[in-house]
């Protein structure tokens, strides 16, 4: 870093580990790389051009990632169906949930699929991450995909948290009250957090206020969490799932090596 001048800053960035973990190599337009760009393209070939049987050992990968993805598909499908009966307003939300349980044909199994599927998805994300950790699959060249996985973990938690409010029962309201009050202590952007007084954070302009749409959990919060839960978070999660799968494909299957004695 001694010869760090303004001129070679771009080069230092491009040659850093962070950059190289995200962008494997630049656009070197020779014949071989152009062909590789086609054969390695995830849209043309979702699976690699070749893979050894070591890469597909069930006892190695446990199928935890793909199970998590299937659970996400189930949750998306059942969630869209639940939207036909559920109205996110204070007078109706709880009773719509009760109607789904007791009145709507097959409503209870639908709701339970969504509810237990959500619990299972959080659990399977944990299993998947534990497996990735214990098999050292997070190590280079896959360190960027581990970061994408952590982002996916966070959005799984956000989906879980926002969905938890929607039944609008006592557990939902107080769990979100407690969860949102933790956001008060966020550094800088939460009004009780460190350094927040330097930029004039108050109860009605901090990050918790933006999350709740008010100073307490109320009708604005219910609507806000509903939109985030049904639109924003699933779309962002889908985008990162695509990146995640693409990187699995591009960085190679971590189990795809002969087992060393």
């Amino acid at each position: 870093m001694a010869n760090l001048s303004l001129k070679n800053v771009p080069q230092v960035i491009v040659e850093s580990q962070v950059w190289k973990s995200i962008f494997r190599h630049g656009y070197t337009m020779n014949r071989r790389n152009r062909l590789l760009a086609i054969t390695n393209n995830v849209f043309y070939h979702i699976l690699p051009t070749k893979i050894s049987r070591y890469g597909m050992r069930m006892r190695f990968h446990w199928g935890a990632g793909i199970i998590t993805f299937y659970l996400f598909l189930i949750l998306t499908f059942t969630g869209v169906l639940l939207m036909f009966y559920y109205v996110p307003t204070v007078p109706r939300a709880y009773y719509d949930m009760k109607d789904l349980q007791h009145v709507v044909p097959f409503g209870n199994i639908l709701r339970n699929m969504h509810r237990y599927g959500a619990h299972a998805m959080v659990f399977m994300v944990m299993v998947h991450m534990a497996r990735t950790f214990y098999t050292s699959s997070y190590k280079p060249p896959r360190e960027f995909n581990w970061v994408v996985g952590v982002i996916l973990l966070n959005f799984t938690f956000l989906l879980s948290f926002s969905g938890y409010l929607l039944p609008w029962d006592q557990l939902a309201i107080w769990a979100v009250t407690v969860g949102a009050n933790m956001a008060r202590a966020t550094p800088l952007i939460g009004h009780e957090g460190p350094f927040a007084n330097l930029i004039g954070m108050k109860v009605n302009n901090d990050v918790r206020f933006a999350l709740l749409g008010g100073t307490t959990v109320g009708s604005a919060t219910l609507l806000r969490f509903y939109v985030l839960h049904c639109i924003a978070f699933p779309i962002i999660l889908t985008i990162f799932i695509v990146v995640h799968f693409w990187r699995v494909r591009r960085d190679g299957y971590s189990g795809d090596v002969p087992v060393r004695e």
């Binding site: 771009p10 933006a210 604005a220």
Partner: protein, 171 residues
Amino acid sequence: MVRAAEALSAEEQGTRRRLLSFLGWGSFVSFCGGVTVGSLRFFFPRILYEPPQQFIAGKPEDYQIGEVSTRMKKEQRVWMIRSEKGIYALISVCTHLGCTPIWHPAENRIKCPCHGSNFLVDGQNVAGPAPSPLFRAAISLDLVGNIVVDKSQKENQPGKRDEPPFTLPLT
């Protein structure tokens, strides 16, 4: 930036092309900045449809000395408490993470169901994770002698909380 400056030859620097490039990129950046700031500002509502912070809590003679009244609790989340010195409105929002504690007369304690914080009748935190005493709301009498409680002003430090406007002195 270094590369952009190098790409321009000597006679091009400070020319019309450079000005137009600056204006073009400048308007693009300010457009993106404006959209970002506007989108963020959108999530902070100007008007809140929340219940008013001020309410009338009856007359002083409605409360007995030593009583912890729960009559305003369900609607307003305060206990009206009359001690020998006066009346104060103790806000039933736990100072830990904001649940609603419950008054247990048999144990003379206020306890939070979420994480088990305990408080005394004066608001002092005595057990559990709560880091500070419960808050008291500002309390006063209006012209016809009704108690007016204002939850937007609150205090929980001993001394300050025992004086007006956080305790209504009664003889």
